[in-house]
Subunit: 716 residues, 2 copies
């Protein structure tokens, strides 16, 4: 499935292909964003087949599609470009520059009458001003003068295709979530205000269009489509340059008059021009790369892939917004209705934690701000404290509608508690622990106490009806990954309370809110102590859950070919009774606490579980690479790492084309490289140290991390 026409260079992707079979794939990997908005990399002048595929998503902009259930709203196509003359593309080459975020498509076009012209389109989503984006088009006649008719503006005729949270069912029914309430155009540009139903949330946009040659221009505004129409001659030898600057605001931006602001900004951007905007944005990219880049010596393609992973993590993160998280497919695809999963906390967040701690903090603040909903979520299930939903959107209420996953895949709550503690450990941000973290830890601990079931006969606490990270486990009992993190959550709550108590003023404020009792803390401790952790003494092995050992063996080599998920050929329900693992489960636990477990245990876990693992989730390869590296299995680690780091670029899961890019795998790749292969750890002196496990083909690695508020440049 790898495209021969994709070249991965150290700082860019280059594609020289127009094969329609690959167009969705290219659209996915060429996605651009700035954390505020994300655009799939479709060709602005290309044919628009499915209006849900020309997606522009705004972080945190969701709308209800039925009671309680939201979808991420597809907003107008910013880069709309239509020719008013019959013509078609003959060849094209596309370059995504990761240093600046610029996407360039250089194409050869031919009109029906045989006129040839080159069309260079450049587009950008500004990292400097998150509301700004721009398109620049260069048209150059190649065989004589060219009469051109061109429209560019905003196309609000876009739809959503809400995709169920069940991996096996596909929706085919599009929904329009937005309707135009104001659509205007004149010869200079236009404005578009769209409203979502039923919540009446608005997106406000304005654009300006400029041309370097004298053209007849008119405004076109029909329904939800607004554009400037340019008509005129381009003499042979001349080049027409059309620039469109776009400003986007939504109801989520706190201001008085969004539309006026959009108009003002579009004009300001027109003044800067494309080059000025690109320059400002590239400046920010430059700073981002300074803190986030990993230089890899010895393998230019790998270098490019490593950078691509980082590039997309940065593009999908609204670094300064404490009210949104990062969806499983970021802002680049509507899969999973744009929801936030544990993918953020366990797979992506460590990257931000070590490179942009403020961004990591904001991701955690999203969870803090969702505490009221998490409390309601627990209550609605007859439980105490706060329960984070398996799938979370702007509401913070459970978006997953199935019992087995939505009700039983409960580890997300402990995952959140885990990264709260990780954040404090790495950053030393004690204020965060005092003002936000402790409340999360205590409320989630309360949830667990009520969610666990005490067995008097055995004097232990069991976690009944649980689905672990290995989603092929059906619904089981005492998933060890989950139970272990639950225990850490309970103990972490006790530690946090004891810490805040040392700051009496802060404690008084917190205690007024939380009303923690001594009995409660004792209960946390008792439950943590008596919580079942399945361990087989004879085999020196943690057991995945109570049912796993009783499953039927399956010869994976017979059934699994390539990396495509096995649930596409063996029914999902059937897979659940085979002794196979969908994705890293106990292997993941080993990587979360790399210094906690004995090498012997890690080796046993690897040798027992790794051969049973199907890697039917993009979350699996990176984690396996990380543990393999930790164990010194350098070649195995490297194989897994390559599968993770090239996951989207090689379309390894065979779904990047119609699902978008896999944000968790991007983050897992980063962890595999930095925490696994470079062996980054917190030293006893509080400073980072490394313990490299690199193959001989890699001659060096250089990157920076921030811990305890200080930046360290690391060279391996």
């Amino acid at each position: 499935m790898k495209s021969e026409h994709l070249k991965i260079l150290p700082w860019s992707l280059e594609i020289t292909d127009m094969d329609p079979d690959y167009s969705s794939f290219y659209e996915s990997i060429l996605s651009q964003g700035n954390g505020y908005l994300g655009v799939r990399g479709f060709d602005p002048a290309g044919v628009k087949e499915n209006s849900f595929e020309r997606s522009v998503f705004l972080a945190g902009f969701f709308e209800y599609i039925k009671p309680g259930v939201t979808d991420m709203v597809n907003t107008p196509d910013l880069f709309s470009l239509r020719f008013g003359i019959p013509c078609q593309e003959v060849s094209a080459a596309t370059t995504l520059d990761m240093r600046t975020g610029l996407l360039t498509r250089e194409a050869l076009w031919q009109t029906e009458r045989g006129e040839l012209f080159s069309l260079i389109s450049r587009r950008m989503v500004s990292m400097h001003n998150k509301h700004a984006s721009a398109l620049e088009v260069e048209i150059k006649p190649l065989n004589g003068d060219l009469h051109i008719v061109l429209e560019t503006g905003l196309d609000g005729d876009v739809t959503n295709l809400p995709i169920s949270d069940d991996q096996m069912t596909e929706n085919t029914q599009c929904k329009s979530l937005l309707t135009p309430v104001f659509c205007h155009a004149n010869q200079l540009g236009g404005t578009l205000v769209m409203e979502s139903t039923p919540s009446k949330r608005h997106v406000y946009q304005a654009y300006r269009v400029m041309a370097n040659l004298p053209m007849a221009t008119t405004g076109v505004a029909v329904d939800a489509y607004t554009a400037v129409r340019l008509e005129g001659n381009i003499p042979q030898g001349d080049v027409l340059v059309v620039t469109k600057t776009i400003a986007t605001y939504s109801y989520r931006d706190p201001m008085q008059d969004h539309l006026a602001e959009a108009i003002r900004l579009a004009e300001l951007l027109a003044g800067l021009g494309f080059a000025g905007m690109l320059n400002a944005s590239a400046q920010v990219w430059c700073e981002l790369w300074e803190s986030c880049d990993i230089e890899v010596d010895g393998d230019p393609e790998l270098q490019g892939a490593v950078r691509y992973n980082i590039f997309q993590l940065l593009q999908n993160n609204a670094a300064d917004d404490p009210y949104v998280s990062i969806g499983a497919r970021g802002l680049m695809h509507g899969r999973y209705k744009g929801n936030y999963f544990w993918d953020t906390e366990i797979f992506m967040l460590p990257f931000f934690l070590y490179t942009r701690p403020e961004a990591a903090k904001n991701l955690l603040l999203y969870r803090y701000h969702m505490l009221p909903s998490a409390r309601d979520g627990a209550k609605s299930l007859g439980l105490n404290g706060a329960r984070y939903p398996w799938m979370s959107s702007n509401t913070g209420y459970e978006q997953c509608e199935t019992w087995d996953t939505g009700c039983c895949e409960v580890h997300i709550t402990a995952d959140v508690a885990h990264v709260v503690q990780e954040y404090v450990r790495i950053t030393d941000d004690e204020d965060f622990l005092v003002h936000y973290g402790t409340e999360i830890l205590v409320e989630t601990a309360r949830y667990w106490v009520s969610r666990l079931t005490y067995n008097e006969a055995a004097d232990c606490y069991n976690l009944l009806f649980v689905k672990g990270p290995d989603e092929y486990c059906g619904v089981t009992t005492n998933n060890t990954y989950t139970n272990y993190l639950v225990r850490e959550n309970l103990l972490g709550a006790i530690r946090a309370v004891n810490f805040v108590r040392q700051r009496p003023e802060d404690w008084d404020v917190l205690q007024a809110k939380l009303q923690v009792t001594a009995q409660e803390l004792e209960k946390f401790e008792e439950v943590a102590e008596k919580l079942v952790i399945l361990y087989d003494e004879d085999r020196e092995l943690l057991l995945q859950d109570e049912l796993f050992e009783r499953m039927e063996p399956l010869d994976i080599s017979v059934h699994k070919h390539g990396a495509a998920a096995l649930y596409r050929t063996i029914p999902y329900d059937r897979l659940q009774r085979y002794k196979v693992i969908k994705q890293a489960d106990l292997v993941l636990l080993m990587t979360l606490y790399p210094e906690r477990f004995s090498t012997k245990l890690k080796e046993n876990i690897w040798s027992y579980y790794e051969p049973l693992t199907l890697h039917d989730s993009s979350l699996s390869f990176g984690t396996h690479a990380q543990l393999a590296a930790d164990l010194g299995y350098v070649d195995v680690a490297w194989d897994y790492f390559r599968k993770s780091v090239f996951l989207d670029l090689y379309n390894i899961m065979e779904n990047t084309h119609h699902e978008g890019i896999h944000l968790a795998a991007l983050g897992a790749s980063w962890q595999a490289l930095v925490l696994g292969m470079a062996g980054l750890r917190q030293g006893e002196d509080g400073k980072p140290k490394v313990d490299p496990k690199l193959p001989s083909t890699i001659r060096g690695l250089r990157f920076s991390v921030v811990t305890g508020g200080r930046k360290y440049d690391i060279s391996v």
Copy 2:
């Protein structure tokens, strides 16, 4: 919640009430049907608020509401009656005569101008001709001449309200499944043809309207509404009698010209008149009562309730149709989208088996005819043989969309196999076993072999991911009820094959189809032998499943008040971790094999599980009554029996009003009385014998049963 205004008499129900709070309840219990169609007992002249509540369902008439999922189609309102003058009902009394099926409403009406008139409406659904129904209206002026304007015909403006299979979520979105393709009226009557979308299935109806006094009559046909409008004076002292005869056919009736047939029948019925139609129908009812009645001496109200249970079972059974079964709410409500559950086989079928074996056979033939879909169903889950769906409609494909229930509540397949064997045992219908039963038994046995999971370490077969009859068990392992029936299914398949082999010609035909191998039969035996049946030797107790003993205790007396299901006050998910039982589980198993288990075991099961049972399903009371009677706990049995037999009439579950009548409870009541309290068993001489366990208030019971093709009159 019992209505004071409902009187239950030995042969009728009488209601003297117009309280709107109770109208849905009365509509439910006054439902009429003939197995072909079922009508809720709404007042024909009453206000039409929700078009989905004026339901007329035809057995087996389903339509897709989304890919793969059907709903039972609500067809036009047959009894539509509208006044063309402003008037309203002042008082009303309704009588449902169970001897004839006649529903009579005697009401006093008043016009806006103060004119009083009495309105008697009589309606019937013919047991003699399943396509025939009729309405007769008598209007008598009470204080002077009355100018009347009246319309009566067919109202196709009805909708469906598909209700999810999850007991916790309610749909509020109505759907129109039918659109009119032909709607006509003249002064004599009219015709209406409705078409369903997307399958283009039709319902064809014709009606005739007659009046005894000279009236100006016109036809009215608008959209899906067709009626005859009558206008004229009724002199004081005279009575206007309007009769409407209706003929209904659907795409399911095999004939050339449905509409012509409907017109012909409506006219024929007009010739018979209401009295003639009622007489013919009552004749059939008389025969039905002769074979199905149970006379109870000593308690007239109970006598009426016992008859009501039988009456509704008969009304909802398409006795001569081998392609339909009986929905959980019969033809009387759209709850559960009209689907067929195990309710039919385990709870209703014994009644038919002992009183109308041909009807029981047709219920089993429905399952036989669904074998191709059941094979597909198994295959779609990666399994062999035939898997019956938890919820079944005309397609025979799984209609339940949840994993925990739709995928895991697998006992239905074993339930079907159980009643196949019961049918043969009671009827001696060996031909059925040869031509239908064996194929069901072998194919379902094959399913189980593939559905079970072999555990090599323990050399046993486990049933993983199973939900038992106790639906508060979450998803568990080795539900004993299910495993026991699976074992019987496997052994039954072996016995059936061995039986058919003795008839070589039949065997050749069957074997050509089934290709049973010796290895396969050995496998059935091995699996039956090694299938885990959880038994605690110390306590001499069967255990419900592997998790039940580890659940948290709940003080039921604190939480459960009245009979309303506890999932209305404690979240369903939470209940699943309490050591409580929704409905008879192992208690039910004891009643399925009353002579198999020791009294000691039955007593232990009763004393352990009964106090933990919440009876949050209408399927529970009757079964408990039956086992209590078997154990000689006469008073306890009688208490449970009364809850079951009055379940709908007293609205004990507090949902009869908006869910319709509970068909399984009707059947469970019959079993409790006949198999439990009368103690009916098959004697060693092949003849039925009884062993009564009746309270002193009941002085006698008389009923008939058919076993081995012979009818026996039994008096206790």
